[in-house]
């Protein structure tokens, strides 16, 4: 069992990258790894509730995220600064995700065996 962190830095509908990283995270969890996901930079837009990907002929990311606890992925974090910079209020976020300071994110990364972040 390994500690694996996925970092989502892109907004949800600019491409399929976020969906692919989440798919990978789910597969990692099925193979009994200890999976964490960090949302930062534009990636924090993923956390808004009430998305509707159908309008863009896409899956809806917020619905996919709400399935994560079913895969026993409970370590969900977001970069506090990224959320504040974008003036996203906490009541727009409707999945259980914990805020992390930059320091907290550094510690999170240091505790991993593997860190997966998509290409920028």
């Amino acid at each position: 069992m390994k500690n694996i962190l996925y970092i989502i830095s892109r907004s949800p509908y600019s491409g399929v990258q976020s969906f692919e990283l989440i798919d990978c995270a789910m597969v990692s969890a099925i193979f009994e790894n200890n999976v964490s996901i960090l949302f930062r930079a534009e990636g924090v837009w993923s956390l808004l509730g009430d998305q509707n990907g159908e309008l863009l002929n896409s899956k809806t990311l917020s619905k996919v995220l709400s399935a994560l606890p079913t895969y026993e992925i409970d370590n969900l974090y977001f970069c506090e600064d990224s959320v504040n910079e974008r003036r996203i209020s906490r009541d727009q976020i409707d999945i259980p995700v914990k805020p992390l300071s930059l320091n907290g994110q550094q510690q999170l990364i240091a505790n991993q065996d593997i860190v997966m972040a998509g290409p920028k």
Binding site: S11, P12, Y13, S14, E42, W45, L48, G49, D50, Q51, N52, G53, E54, L55, L56, S58, S62, R86, R87, Q92
Partner: protein
């Protein structure tokens, strides 16, 4: 015919703002719709049309009165405008 600017992301918005003429029309679509809720504070949002499907799909909400357009209305604006400039950087 008036000029229409299609703005696809935040970088595009910054570039367009520097180069557009005062009377030009602008549409925020794709990633650029994320700029709309924060812009509304500056009172400048009234200059923009915003593609409604792109805004709603991303789960964005606003209390300000934004000038939303549908795909059909965007096509109409495009048909009425020349030149049309696309901004994504």
């Amino acid at each position: 015919m008036s000029t229409l600017h299609l703005i696809f992301n935040q970088e595009g918005l910054a570039s367009c703002k520097r180069l557009k003429a005062k009377q030009d029309k602008m549409i925020l679509l794709g990633e650029a719709v994320y700029c709309a809720p924060t812009m509304s504070l500056a009172g400048e949002i009234s200059q923009f049309h915003i593609l409604k499907d792109d805004f709603d799909a991303r789960g964005l909400k606003t209390e300000k009165e934004l000038c939303f357009v549908s795909y059909d209305e965007m096509v109409e604006l495009c048909a009425q405008s020349a030149p049309i400039v696309s901004w994504n950087a």
